[in-house]
Amino acid sequence: MTRVAAVVPAFEEEAAIGAVVAEIVAFDPSIDVVVVDDGSSDGTAAAAAAAGATVVRLPFNLGIGAAVQTGFRWALERDYDLAVRLDGDGQHDPAELPKLLAPIERDEADVVTGSRFREEEDGYRPPLGRRVGITWFARLVSLLSGQRVTDTTSGFQALNRSGIELFARDYPSDYPEVEATVLLLKHRLRLVEVPVRMREREHGSSSITFLRSVYYAIKVTLALFIAMGRRYAVPSEGVER
């Protein structure tokens, strides 16, 4: 039987995390949910545990990238076949998981990302500033990877064993999803996007202000180019996977 781990990074999500965990468990009780509490000072860990998740508590805040990586390391240590990643704020609907897992089950992909911007589904129109940033990274990553990528900031993902192994070993830190795309490409893993619907945040607000976005946009762009120039221990061109 295929064992699936759901990795849920959470920081100060006391209000939302219980429902997120319960929803995943209700959708498929065979999925083991691991909540990575990224050094929250509120009751995130207790709420997640009460809802039936395994909780991995980081001793202090490491940031989203390292938190997600902790979850993948957990899944790797316990030999899970597949991992899915959902955000702790409830914007990812577990009902969409079969769509994410399908390409992996057909062995057409190593990593599948849920995209909000594939035309087939619409409904999510972010404000102009964010749209500019999202378009910039989508274009840039598409150009660098030679395949069409529409949503580079989506944290709604499914991974097979190769994907788990890669991300457990090496995962970028800020806005990790953008750089992770390049990492996948460099390691010759197959990335597939599927259209999904995401919900608006139920609690709290996105912590991203304008200046911060500009700062991150510059930083991540720089990191992308550096990642492209980095050498990795990867299978050589001719090797069939």
Partner: protein
């Protein structure tokens, strides 16, 4: 030509730097691997301040015609930048190690929690005795 007083002051300064670094190493307050660049800095500055004709020659090569001691400043600044850059790499490595340790601690604690829970369930299931 460099004024003699500048040469003397610079030599004393460099010598002091070397002595302080050596003393810090002796007291185990500075690790050798982080001190090496400081010692090289001190030695280079000492040589440049004591070897007055050498300083002039180097100034001539670099087109510094008016004031050879400027080479002393330039060398000092260059080495300070090298030391800082070295520290940035050390800091980056420490940050990575720190993240790895935090993750390891968290994963171990989760494992321990699970073990204790299992052990607790076992002891409550069996009457103590």
């Amino acid at each position: 030509m460099t004024p003699v007083r500048i040469s003397i002051a610079a030599a004393i300064g460099s010598l002091l730097l070397i002595l302080i670094v050596l003393e810090l190493i002796r007291g185990r307050r500075l690790k050798e691997r982080y001190a090496l660049l400081w010692i090289v800095t001190g030695v280079v500055l000492l040589v440049l301040s004591a070897w007055r004709s050498g300083l002039n020659t180097i100034a001539g090569w670099l087109g510094v015609s008016g004031y050879p001691p400027a080479i002393l400043f330039a060398a000092a600044i260059m080495f300070v930048i090298a030391v800082l850059l070295h520290y940035s790499t050390v800091l980056s490595r420490l940050t990575d190690d720190n993240v790895l340790l935090a993750q390891e601690v968290a994963l171990l604690r989760a494992r321990l929690d699970a073990l204790e829970q299992a052990a607790g369930a076992e002891t409550t299931a069996r009457p103590a005795g």
